[in-house]
C-alpha cells in the first residue's frame, strides 16, 4: 500500500509544484543536495527508478558538472588547465550544483508523473475545466485502443500474404486504415455521448476524492513549511555566491533554520511514505501474528 496514493490530489499538486519551483530557484549547494535527497528517497520508496536509467542520469550530471567550467571560465581558484582553459574550483562547484538541481527537478517531475496520473490529473483539471478533462479522458482511452487496432491491422495483413509494398508504404496503408477505423469509432462514440446527454448545458464534475481532515492537516503543514521557507529567504537566508570565490555555507543569516525547514519540506513525502510503510507492516503483524514468516 502506498501512502501517497491515499492522499488527496490537491496537497500532492501543492507539494510537487513547490518542490520543483524551490529546486529551480535556489542555486545553493546544501539546498540542492537536500532537494535531490528528498527526491531520491521518495522515489525509491514510492516507485523505484529502473536501473538502466541511472547511467543516463549520471552522464547528464557529469556533462553539466564538467561543461560549466569549460563554458564559464570564472572564479579565483584555478585547479588546472584543460586545452588552455582554466578550470576553477568555483566554476566546477557551480556546475556540480547545477547538475544536482537538474537531477532533482527530473526526479520530482518523474514523481509528479507517477503520483498525479490518470484520475488525479483529471480531477485537478476537471474542477476548473470539465470539458478539457473530458477530452483528456477520451484521449487516454483512445491511445491504447488505436495501438491495439494498429497491431490487429498489421497482423491481419501479415497473416494473409502481406501488402506487397515496402515497410514504409505498408505503414502508411495501415495508418490510413486506422484513421478510417478511428473516424467510424468516433461517429459511434458521438452518438453514444449524445444519447447520454453529452450536449446538455451545465456539466458537473465527478470527483472520486474527498478532502478529509487528514488532507487538511497535510495541506496545513505544507503551507506552514512553504511560508517558513519564503520568510527565511526574505530575511536573507539562502543566499549563496559562487564567483569570484565560494561563500561558506554558514555565511548567510539564519542558515541552520532554513536548512532544517527546507530539508523537512523536501523529505516530507519520503518520511510520510516510510511512516506509512512501517505502520502498515506493524498493523499487519499485529493482526496476523502467526504469519510473520510470510510478511517479508
Amino acid at each position: 500500500m502506498k501512502k501517497t496514493d491515499t492522499c488527496h490530489p490537491l496537497p500532492l499538486l501543492l507539494f510537487f509544484l513547490a518542490a520543483v519551483l524551490f529546486s529551480v530557484l535556489y542555486m545553493h549547494p546544501v539546498l540542492a543536495v537536500l532537494s535531490l535527497l528528498g527526491g531520491v528517497c521518495f522515489l525509491s520508496l514510492y516507485q523505484p527508478l529502473p536501473l538502466r536509467e541511472i547511467p543516463f542520469l549520471l552522464l547528464l550530471f557529469f556533462t553539466v558538472c564538467l561543461g560549466n567550467p569549460i563554458f564559464v571560465p570564472r572564479g579565483r581558484t584555478v585547479l588546472f588547465f584543460l586545452f588552455h582553459i582554466p578550470i576553477t574550483l568555483e566554476s566546477l562547484t557551480a556546475g556540480a550544483v547545477n547538475g544536482v538541481l537538474l537531477l532533482s527537478v527530473l526526479l520530482w517531475c518523474r514523481a509528479i508523473f507517477y503520483a498525479l496520473q490518470g484520475d488525479r490529473l483529471l480531477y485537478l483539471l476537471g474542477k476548473r475545466a470539465p470539458k478539457t478533462a473530458l477530452i483528456l479522458s477520451m484521449t487516454l482511452r483512445f491511445i491504447p485502443m488505436l495501438t491495439r487496432r494498429f497491431r490487429e491491422i498489421r497482423s491481419a495483413q501479415q497473416g494473409c500474404g502481406g501488402t506487397g509494398v515496402g515497410k514504409l508504404r505498408s505503414a502508411s496503408l495501415y495508418f490510413s486504415a486506422l484513421v478510417s477505423c478511428a473516424l467510424e469509432d468516433s461517429v459511434t462514440a458521438g452518438a453514444s455521448m449524445e444519447c447520454r446527454g453529452g450536449n446538455l448545458p451545465g456539466r458537473s464534475f465527478y470527483a472520486p476524492y474527498v478532502f478529509s481532515r487528514r488532507d487538511k492537516w497535510i495541506t496545513g503543514t505544507l503551507l506552514l513549511l512553504i511560508l517558513g521557507i519564503l520568510t527565511l529567504s526574505a530575511l536573507g537566508s539562502g543566499a549563496y555566491r559562487f564567483y569570484p570565490a565560494l561563500s561558506g555555507v554558514w555565511d548567510a543569516r539564519l542558515s541552520l533554520p532554513l536548512y532544517i525547514v527546507y530539508g523537512g519540506f523536501m523529505l516530507l513525502p519520503a518520511l510520510w511514505e516510510l511512516w506509512g510503510r512501517i505502520t502498515y507492516v506493524r498493523a499487519i503483524y499485529r493482526a496476523f501474528p502467526s504469519e510473520k514468516e510470510t510478511m517479508s
Binding site: G118, S137, R196, G197, Y206
Partner: protein, 536 residues
C-alpha cells in the same frame, strides 16, 4: 388507467433517397416493465424501430404517425428526461464507451446532467454494486473484455436513472458465456427493478426464453406481437427458423401445438412426451485423412520472458481436405495458437511443421481491408500476389459477392464482410485456411451460408481450421473437433463422436435428445428419428 411506457400509432418512416418505407403503419403499445424482443431478418426495420424510440438516435427522413413516451411526444421530450430516462446501448462494446476508466464512464452521464459530485459518488457506487462492477471499478476501459464493456455501458445508462433500456444486438460481439451473463443481468434488472427492456438479437435461442413479449417485423410491417411460446410458427414463416432455440425447432419439425418448448428442459419433456420416434440411422461424413498438411509437436508459447505459458504442449496434425473446429472458452489461448499455426508467433519450444502455405482470417475481419472499396482492396491484393483481374472475378463469383465490389468494407453486413474476407484469403492460393471466430456476430442465415461455403471450399480441396465458441456452428461444419483447454487440445475426435461423447460441451439438440433418441448432434440428424406427422 396507467399510461403505457411507449405508444406508437400508425408510424411510418422512410429514409432519404429510399423509395420503400423502412417502417410502415406500425401501431404498438409497450407496457411498463415489459421485456420485449424485436425480431426480423436483416433489413426488416428492427434497428430503425429502436432508433424511433430514442429522440437522440432518430435518423433523418420522412416520418408520419405518433410516437409517445409515457403520454408525451418523443420529439417534444425535455432533453434531460430523454437522456436520462431512456437508455440506449449499442452493438459495439468498444466504440460506445467514452472515458478511460470505468468510474469515469459510469459518472459520465451524471456529469452531463449536472448532478453534484456527492450525489454522483453515491449513484455510481450503487450502480457498480448492483451490476457487480466493484472489482473493475478502477480499471481502464481499454483493458476490459467485451462482456465487461457491455456491462459498463449498461451501468452508465442505469446510473443516469434509466427506466427504459433499448438495446441493439448487445450480445452479437460477445462470446456465448459473456452473452448469457449479460442477458441474465438484463433479466434480473427487469424482474427486480421493473425496468422496461426492448432489445433486438439475431440469436433467438438465448433471448426467446428470457423475454415476455415478441415482436416480429417483416419489411417494416408488424407481423406478430405476442408471447414467446406462441411465436415460433410466425418466426419460422418469416424465415427465422434457423435462429430459433433447438427445442422450438424440434417442435416445428413435428408440427407441435401450444405451448412451444423453449428451454432444453422443456424440449426434453416435449420430446419424450409428445413425439413418436422411429428406427433410423444417421450417416456422418467421415473425415478425410489423406496427407498431413500441418503438424504441431509439443509446442510451447508465452508472450514475454516472465509471463505465464499460453500454449502448453500443443500436439496435433491436420489432414488435407478436412475442416477442423477448435472449440474452447474465452481466453483459453485459441487465438494465440492460431497465430502460431499461421507462423506469426514462434514457439519457444517444440516444432510446428507447415507443409503448405497458410492464410489467416483475423477475428475482426475489418482489419483485413485497407482500401475504401472491396474491389479496390481485392484487386490490389491480387496484383501483389501476381494475379490478374480474372482471379478476383472468379473468386468473387465463387462466393457470390460480385455485386459488393463497389461497397465500402465498413458498410457491409457481418455475413457479407466475412465472404469478402474469405475472397481475400482465396486470392492467396494457400491450401490451408486458418479462421478466427468466422461465425462471430453473424445472424442465423449468414451463419448457415458460411457453413455451407466452408464445406464447399473443403470439397474443392482446401483444408480449414477454425476457432470458435459456437458448438452449433462447429457441429454443422466441421469434420473433426478439438477442445482447447489449459493451453492444449485436450480432446479431439470426429465431430459426431466428439459431441455425442461430451457431457456438457455439446449442442442443444444433443442435450435435448440425450437418452431419449439414438445419438443426434444436429437438428437434421434428430429429425431422422422423428415421426414428422405426429400431432401433440
Amino acid at each position: 388507467m396507467i399510461t403505457p411506457c411507449f405508444a406508437i400509432e400508425n408510424l411510418s418512416f422512410t429514409y432519404p433517397k429510399s423509395d420503400t418505407p423502412a417502417l410502415e403503419n406500425l401501431s404498438l403499445v409497450v407496457e411498463e416493465g415489459a421485456f420485449l424482443l424485436l425480431c426480423g431478418k436483416t433489413g426488416s426495420g428492427k434497428t430503425t424501430l429502436l432508433h424511433m424510440l430514442k429522440k437522440e438516435m432518430t435518423p433523418h427522413g420522412i416520418m408520419q404517425g405518433k410516437r409517445l413516451y409515457k403520454g408525451d411526444d418523443i420529439d417534444g421530450l425535455d432533453p434531460r428526461t430523454s437522456a436520462s430516462k431512456i437508455g440506449y446501448i449499442m452493438q459495439d462494446p468498444d466504440s460506445q464507451l467514452v472515458c478511460d476508466s470505468v468510474a469515469r464512464e459510469l459518472a459520465y452521464g451524471l456529469e452531463n446532467l449536472g448532478v453534484s459530485p456527492d450525489r454522483i459518488r453515491r449513484t455510481v457506487a450503487e450502480t457498480a454494486s448492483l451490476l457487480g462492477l466493484s472489482d473493475i471499478f478502477h480499471a481502464r476501459t481499454a483493458q476490459l473484455s467485451g462482456g465487461q464493456k457491455q456491462l459498463v455501458a449498461l451501468g452508465a445508462v442505469l446510473a443516469m436513472g434509466a427506466q427504459v433500456l433499448l438495446l441493439d444486438e448487445p450480445c452479437s460481439m460477445l462470446d456465448p458465456l459473456a452473452a448469457a451473463d449479460f442477458l441474465s443481468v438484463l433479466e434480473r434488472l427487469n424482474r427486480e427493478t421493473g425496468v422496461t427492456i426492448i432489445l433486438t438479437d439475431h440469436r433467438l435461442e438465448r433471448t426467446l426464453p428470457l423475454c415476455n413479449q415478441v415482436l416480429l417485423l417483416d419489411a417494416g410491417r408488424l407481423r406478430f406481437l405476442g408471447s414467446p411460446v406462441q411465436s415460433p410458427y410466425a418466426l419460422a414463416e418469416a424465415g427465422l427458423e434457423a435462429a430459433l432455440p433447438a427445442a422450438a425447432r424440434i417442435y416445428l419439425k413435428t408440427g407441435g401445438t401450444d405451448p412451444c418448448p423453449l428451454s432444453v428442459g422443456e424440449g426434453r419433456q416435449y420430446l419424450s412426451r409428445c413425439v413418436h420416434l422411429k428406427e433410423n440411422s444417421v450417416e456422418t461424413a467421415p473425415a478425410p485423412r489423406e496427407e498431413v498438411v500441418l503438424s504441431v509437436r509439443d509446442a510451447w508459447f508465452r508472450y514475454q520472458k516472465k509471463s505465464p505459458d499460453v500454449v502448453r504442449g500443443l500436439h496435433f496434425s491436420l489432414y488435407s481436405g478436412e475442416i477442423f473446429a477448435l472449440l474452447g472458452a474465452n481466453g483459453s489461448g485459441k487465438t494465440t495458437a492460431l497465430s502460431m499455426l499461421a507462423g506469426l508467433l514462434p514457439p519457444y519450444s517444440g516444432k510446428i511443421k507447415r507443409l503448405v502455405d497458410t492464410a489467416l482470417l483475423p477475428q475482426n475481419s475489418k482489419s483485413l481491408f485497407l482500401q475504401d472499396t472491396v474491389g479496390e482492396d481485392l484487386h490490389r491484393a491480387a496484383a501483389h500476389l501476381g494475379k490478374g483481374r480474372e482471379a478476383v472475378e472468379e473468386a468473387a463469383a465463387l462466393l457470390g459477392i460480385a455485386h459488393l465490389m463497389k461497397q465500402n468494407p465498413r458498410d457491409l453486413s457481418g455475413g457479407q464482410r466475412q465472404k469478402c474476407a474469405l475472397c481475400r484469403l482465396l486470392l492467396t492460393d494457400a491450401p490451408l485456411f486458418l479462421l478466427d471466430e468466422p461465425a462471430k456476430g453473424l445472424d442465423a442465415s449468414a451463419r448457415q451460408e458460411l457453413s455451407w461455403i466452408l464445406r464447399r471450399l473443403a470439397r474443392q480441396g482446401k483444408t480449414i481450421l477454425f476457432v470458435t465458441h459456437d458448438v452449433e456452428f462447429a457441429a454443422e461444419t466441421a469434420h473433426r473437433c478439438g477442445l482447447f483447454f489449459d493451453g492444449t487440445i485436450t480432446a479431439q475426435a470426429d465431430t459426431f463422436s466428439f459431441f455425442t461423447e461430451s457431457t456438457a460441451y455439446t449442442t442443444a439438440v444433443r442435450r435435448i435428445s440425450r437418452g431419449i433418441t439414438a445419438p443426434a448432434v444436429t437438428i437434421e440428424q434428430l429429425t431422422a428419428y422423428l415421426e414428422v406427422d405426429c400431432e401433440g
